[in-house]
Symmetry: C3
Subunit: 207 residues, 3 copies
């Protein structure tokens, strides 16, 4: 069972890495960065969340360092985006939002699974799922010297948190890790897309 | 004795966490963030310094991850501030400054104690006390895309450093950990408040 | 041999620390920070890259924490720069660029050596060399709330990466660690200086 869980984490992590690296590269190209800047931003967007999670739960060295496939995949995605960015930018925004929601769900589920594997308790495991999903985007925004998007608006981290909550609840009631991750991931994915299409927002403090 | 030290660290840490989480939330509300943003900023302001300290001294996973009471306390403080922020903002600024100085002292002392417990040498232990005290505020300012306040002005980190120095000196001359922490914490607290009321500043390089 | 490698790392690290701390201090003084701000920026510019590397490869606690000579050296450099900054600013820019290129090469080689010592595989070890060289400057720029210089321009991280690649290739073909580090460091140093003098840049995506 443990092996199977690890395979699930690996597959979800690699797929999410590729999607997020492309997104990060597009942001970096849009911001006028050079080839190196694009590669760096691809790397941190794709792997930053997982690295923060691994440092926090004590999985040292982080996967992104121990396993060369992660950084290599991020760099390949960065390079491909750099070369073919005109074609990639022609991709409709709605498709990008769907891919991004998929990446978010994959990362959140990989984060929850790994935290549980390392004996982290449920409430904090949900936070780790969320951090895995949104951490890379936060570091990207810090590098670009702007307030992280997820702090300002939208149901994004909230979707990751809700999906993580569902996945852990499913596990508690006896579903297999894989079935729990699929259920939680779907909740995150659907919640994110519905929030975008309906223009849902979290409340702000009335002043 | 070791157990007693750990209890001291825990109490100081939890009290400081609550105060700093409220402060972080107020800053976030003032910056126009939504509910999630307020929770995130509450979390990082309250726990960021301790997480950096724990990662640096090799206490892995950090307390804020291993012990669910820390993040839960930060989130509760964030939620309360979000709901009652009008009342909280009516608190006079001078009281907030006193509470903040108390939080700074508590965190600095918790940081020194823990660094010593992990066998860190005195000079670096002072730095760890300072980092525990000011780290959360620095991450908060980075997230809000501004130069950290402590770099620009005021005797703030300096107070934490001075208090840490005093606490370690007291330990060296045979005072108990608790008595040393109280003495060092008082020095930090008083120095911070006197600096604010007298408008003390550190020198800048003449150009 | 292991001992000798460690001595090489130590010497390269300490020399690079001093150079980078002076540079960080000058930037901080130029940015109007007070004495504490100058010390903090000196510290992070000099030690930030190594701390990130050590956290990532699982060398916990990082050298900069375990060995008090690192932070002390950074602070001494910061204090000296603060006091004598008028004289230091009279140093011609070209000399500073040469010293900086030397610091970059020393750090990159120390980073590669240490990563290899910790069993990190070659591709990631090159990344660790690069991170050690440029990480401090990135944190400095984040603290000063601006987009890290290395993302925007110039062959800087690229030189560190190229030098790391050469050093690892030399090791693979049987050169001693010291000879490999000297060769790789020279490549980094010369490539950086030629890039500055010739105005070489990395390509940007055509839009």
């Amino acid at each position: 069972m443990k092996l199977k869980t690890e395979t699930t984490i690996l597959a979800a992590d690699l797929a999410g890495t590729f999607v997020f690296a492309i997104e990060g590269s597009l942001t970096a190209i849009h911001g006028g960065l050079d080839l190196l800047g694009v590669m760096v931003v691809a790397f941190v967007t794709a792997l930053g969340g997982g690295v923060i999670r691994d440092l926090l739960i004590g999985a040292s060295p982080p996967n992104a360092i121990r396993d060369w496939r992660y950084p290599m995949l991020a760099f390949v995605a960065g390079l491909l985006t750099f070369i073919f960015h005109t074609s990639i930018q022609a991709i409709p925004a709605s498709l990008l939002i769907v891919l991004d929601a998929a990446g978010l769900s994959l990362f959140a589920m990989a984060g929850v699974e790994k935290a549980v594997l390392f004996g982290i308790r449920p409430f904090v495991a949900m936070l780790m799922g969320t951090v895995t999903g949104v951490g890379g985007g936060v570091i990207r925004d810090i590098l670009l010297a702007r307030v992280p998007l997820i702090l300002l608006t939208d149901i994004y981290a909230t979707a990751a948190f809700a999906g993580s909550f569902v996945a852990l609840t499913c596990r508690r009631y006896g579903l297999s890790p894989a079935a729990s991750a699929i259920t939680g991931g779907l909740v995150c994915f659907v919640l994110r897309l519905v929030a975008v299409s309906q223009g849902w927002h979290l409340p702000k403090a009335v002043s």
